[in-house]
Symmetry: C2
């Protein structure tokens, strides 16, 4: 299943007559198989460790290309470098960022259609894409904060 999805992504490269090169596959492979959100430095270091020699410039150029082709999505959160994640087909989701521990939870079911309707009616803006990030406390941090305040009483 995941392999089938990967094929869709590599197809985007070849169908647009870009070449399927070592560095491109290495970056795609890393992002596809490592959970989480990775910044440029992550990608660089992890691929270096795994064996292959790759330059920072190539990472920047490849990520630009992948963004253009819709192979990856960028996540720009407050107080951090831009991170990247695979743009799996039909995987629309948002991010809940814990301000305490930095943990990022993905939230899939998005009822944003309701809001889009409202926006389009009120502003005549034609929404094609959207990003939504919520900041707050993840379950673990929320709980320990509650315990802490109870103790203080």
């Amino acid at each position: 299943m995941e392999e089938k999805c990967l094929l869709i992504l590599t197809d985007k490269i070849t169908k647009n007559s870009y070449k399927l090169t070592g560095p491109r596959l290495a970056i795609l492979d890393y992002l596809a198989h490592e959970k989480g959100h990775h910044d440029i430095m992550d990608i660089y270091e992890k691929i270096r460790l795994k064996n292959e020699s790759i330059g920072m410039a190539t990472i920047y150029r490849t990520i630009d290309l992948f963004l253009e082709l819709g192979i990856v999505r960028v996540l720009t959160l407050k107080n951090s470098q831009p991170c990247f994640e695979i743009n799996w087909p039909d995987d629309h989701h948002h991010h809940l960022v814990c301000t305490e521990c930095g943990h990022i939870i993905e939230f899939g079911s998005c009822n944003f259609k309701l809001i889009v309707g409202e926006i389009e009616k009120v502003t005549c803006f034609r929404v094609e894409e959207h990003t939504l990030e919520a900041y707050g406390l993840c379950p673990k941090c929320a709980q320990s904060r509650d315990v802490y305040s109870t103790e203080k009483m």
Copy 2:
């Protein structure tokens, strides 16, 4: 009215025993009175033009302070530098970014409460803040695109 709001903001500076200095007032004044979203360079250049000498370092330090005090909000959009805007009391809004002309429309009435409830129920995450950006076509660009496709038929 706006002056009263400004007072609330300068109060945040003094109440936290920070000093009300020339550069801080200049930046606050610029952001408060110039419409739109301004990046570091904007702020630097516009204040320089107006007369006063100010250093980039001061802008960075002041914006950091303002963010910390909740005097400004940061807007990190795709393909652009972080921009800043005054965080007026009770002015919660989101941004509709035209991918054609770059125009940014602010959208006030946010029905996000519906979604927050859903998120908190499903994930046990405690949402304290959120940002939402929609990308698409502003009314003007949407219209000219429609005209264009009609002409082609």
